[in-house]
Symmetry: C2
Subunit: 355 residues, 2 copies
């Protein structure tokens, strides 16, 4: 088995994404379909999974290669045990290929906890990172807001929240192309004294570190109105805020659908509105950004929703490639040093747009 795709001449410049082809409810079909759409001269895909089926799905597609693994980690498996007990699972092998530099980034729509565990065991934390965080791009309008931590750490200390700001800002700069990302701290009131003791202390740290790039506290209602570029919070509140937002959006669209079904007049109205309703749904679709990013690791690691379809897989692979070519990990490493040695805002070098 050679992990490098066949097109050796371009391999030096192409980005290689290790894709857990067995991860997620729609694996391997939708995952392969989507990832192949993203594959190109510049983005090579390494599909990790059961080769017999993958060969049928990949066919002779260019810029793609298959790594055969017998095992699969299920969505219900206990993460730490599964990673230990199934070293030949597609998820663990994909992580190992990245750890061994045979691929540049990892993507799986499988068991989130297992992705975290495999990441910590093989890809490992970037030096200086206290806690990796799950970073999710929220479809706020007119511009996206990234939220972290969305669930990796149920409890955090103020120093962790401080680092999450570094991770989130680097992500905004290198992957989303935001020149000077503004950070908000999720709390239950705008005043600096609102929240838990951890949040109140983090407010002070962030104000000192970021100066004008720190907006102050934001509230749950600010997640989708583009008030800030980065929202930092603990993984418990972040996960709940994310899922509450998704649930509320779904509830509103569900109510609308129900209302429409109740009269002929409404049905005609809905028909006329259909392209617009489709656009609203698309704007809110988590597949738009494909996956969550586990930030603070030695390589980009992306974790898709279990329900990811082809569109999600395609976008995840594209964003993974962007994280690699935008040198996200290197940018985080450089910023971590800045924070350790004092305020970073004043001495920020000019931001760089993503490749």
């Amino acid at each position: 088995m050679s992990a490098r795709p066949a097109t050796e001449g371009q391999a030096a410049r192409a980005v290689i994404i290790a894709v857990d082809a067995q991860g997620g409810d729609n694996a391997p079909e939708a995952i392969v379909e989507g990832a192949l759409r993203a594959a190109s001269e510049h983005i090579h895909v390494l599909f990790v999974g059961r080769a017999a089926r993958l060969r049928e799905l990949v066919g002779g597609a260019p810029y793609a290669e298959i790594v055969d693994t017998p095992d699969v980690i299920g969505s219900g498996d206990e993460p730490a045990h599964a990673v230990r007990d199934k070293p030949q699972s597609s998820l663990v092998v994909a992580a190992r290929l990245v750890a061994e530099s045979r691929a540049d980034a990892f993507y799986s729509a499988g068991n989130t906890g297992a992705c975290l565990a495999a990441g910590l065991l093989t890809v490992r934390r970037l030096k200086g990172v206290l806690r990796p965080a799950i970073c999710v791009v929220l479809p706020s309008q007119p511009r996206p807001t990234v939220l972290l931590d969305a669930g990796a750490n149920a409890e955090v200390q103020p120093a962790h929240l401080r680092q999450f700001a570094v991770l989130g800002r680097a992500f905004c700069r290198e992957v989303l192309g935001v020149a000077e990302p503004i950070v908000g701290l999720l709390s239950i009131g705008e005043e600096p004294g609102k929240g838990t003791p951890q949040v109140i202390e983090a407010h002070k740290l962030l104000a000192a570190d970021l100066g004008p790039a720190f907006y102050g506290n934001v509230e749950g209602r600010d997640l989708l109105n583009s008030t800030v570029d980065v929202v930092v919070t603990d993984g418990f509140s972040g996960n709940i805020a994310l899922k509450a937002s998704e649930g509320a959006a779904k509830a509103v669209l569900g109510l609308l659908k129900q209302a429409i079904a109740q009269s002929a007049r409404a049905k005609v109205g809905a028909l006329l509105l259909k392209p617009d309703l489709v656009r609203v749904r698309a704007a809110l679709d988590p597949e738009e950004y494909g996956a969550m990013h586990l930030l603070g690791m030695n390589r980009p690691m992306l974790i898709g929703h279990g329900s990811s379809g082809a569109r999600g897989a395609e976008n995840a692979v594209r964003y993974a490639a962007r994280a690699v070519s935008g040198h996200l990990v290197e940018a985080i490493a450089a910023r971590l040093g800045d924070v350790a040695s004092g305020p970073v805002a004043a001495s920020d070098p000019a931001p760089r747009a993503p490749a």
Copy 2:
């Protein structure tokens, strides 16, 4: 000044609600208008505020009386100081009237923190209540879900979460008329081992107390899908979940509005859909339930959103009256004893519908 309304003959059976007529962005006009709509032979309203203006607004309306107070607590005032420094403010006087049994329940759309502080100082906690909690009725479909704590306690212990279940179930029974309310614990995964150490411990307590009436963990997405009747959580996560849900619903409706504005076809469609859109908006309107309930006090206390309009005030007064006639406080007191002495589910007396 006599706190009892003029209609002495009925006073013995009528419920008296003390209304902070100066609280909220739309006070006193909208508050008076709404509360007067709820006033009846059975519900008497005691308006507390600046009498000169209130007399103009109340006119000679029946079942209403005015208590003159010179001071007002602003929405931006520091709660504890404001309550101490303004004993003659409408908010504090309204709370005191309730504490002195000259009214049966309290309603204010003013400064939430000041309502809490005034409540703790005058109305006081019910004996045995560790922490009062803010309980909000979420407009989930097909039936409402109550969430507590929505912001009174940024940090809680497992024993507090356990009591919140008692408060929330009593509210569901006595005010919403739910026979056997099912409780969910907000966490970041369905498994009992997911969440913070406090949540994991609370899971055990709730399972032991409630038996089959405990659903287990719920997630942020379950707040609006009627999975359970009562969701218990700490005030930090609860406040964030509530505001994130509100923000997401607003964002979806905003996107829809934006989309509609972009074409003549869409505008015609929207016109046809208008009655349905209005219904969707109404179903999600926080004014439907009027106010949040501060549970665990010696008397029903309701705190409205600062933006409350006449509809919110009207419904708040109606729900306050229902809490009184449903003997909510007495029901909570009785249940608290049950929990202290062991599991309550098996020996639950037959539930009672609200008056």
